[in-house]
Symmetry: C2
Subunit: 160 residues, 2 copies
DNA sequence: CATTATTATGCATAAATATACAATATTAAC
DNA sequence: GTTAATATTGTATATTTATGCATAATAATG
């Protein structure tokens, strides 16, 4: 059903430009673009599109296309890269040293950070204090050394 | 009035751990932590805290502490850094070359990108195609050269 | 202190969003 | 094609969130 995809694309486009505060407002804007649907449909579209509802500083909540991936997708991406780009993993005390192919380290580190900050229900990654990355090396600093094996398994995707 | 600050701190802490889907749920969790308030108060707190309401992939919407700054704050930050760290600005055609103090370039470039992607109602930054940064140089690529002076003014904060 | 100004909160309710269910449309299988 | 299975949407409504107004709590001022 292509109308749906088209409409959702249009919604994304609108939300990039306009300051949309309610689904009713969006409904009107959409109608102007030729898509005539009810609020109920928009409610469903929003969820599917991953649209977030965020407060403008000192302003009202408004709808906004999310640029940040949410938890599960990042995790998938990260584990995918692990299998492709990681050359070696070593550890001492509460540190994990991950050797990657050239240029991959900082991108992967960012994903790890993102996950540790935004990961929901992932107790593993909450144990990560932070990461530092060079060009082909990631240093992961843990809050506590006991959880290191669990984390390594998790990052590798052994525990899906 | 400290109870409010305390409560909001507690809210932030709860949202980091728990998957909170409604304000009622939060109300209960909060009560368990000793803060007894109505849903109305929570609604206000959420906005003040900048909590966003985001859909979990294939799951329901849930409340989530925002890690990404929203528009106006970024802009302020960026203009602040401009005044402190920018050494020189030059341009040719549709390119702007910004020379900064060592190490500042990539951070500032990220802010510019963030703004150009998430900026609401800021037509100026929408004209930015992208940025590339080294250690002390930012290259800003514009969609169109006619808007360059406007952008430069904007970044400098001359147009607040 | 007492008094005034400011901020925070609850109550009641308005406004907005999500959803169960029924009706339609779309796609797949034959 | 026809029929069965799946997906999309609207209607009506339940659920949830936001807010106007009144009150209480806190802070500022003399």
């Amino acid at each position: 059903m292509k109308t749906k995809k088209l409409r959702q694309g249009q919604i994304a486009k609108i939300l990039e430009k306009e300051f949309v505060v309610t689904q009713h407002q969006l409904q009107k804007l959409l109608a102007r673009a030729g898509h005539r649907v009810t609020q109920a449909t928009l409610s469903r579209d929003m969820k599917e599109l991953g649209v977030i509802y965020a407060p403008a500083p000192h302003g009202p909540y408004y709808y906004k296309i999310s640029t940040v991936q949410t938890g599960p997708l990042i995790q998938q991406d990260l584990q995918n890269r692990f299998s492709k780009y990681v050359v070696n993993i070593s550890r001492t005390d509460n540190l994990i040293l991950i050797k990657t192919l050239p240029g991959e380290a900082s991108g992967m580190a960012r994903l790890i950070d993102e996950l540790s900050m935004n990961g929901i229900k992932q107790t593993e990654v909450k144990e990560i204090l932070g990461t530092i990355a060079g060009d082909d090396t990631i240093l992961v600093i843990m809050k506590n050394k006991v959880n290191i094996p669990k984390i390594i398994k998790f990052l590798k995707g052994t525990t899906p």
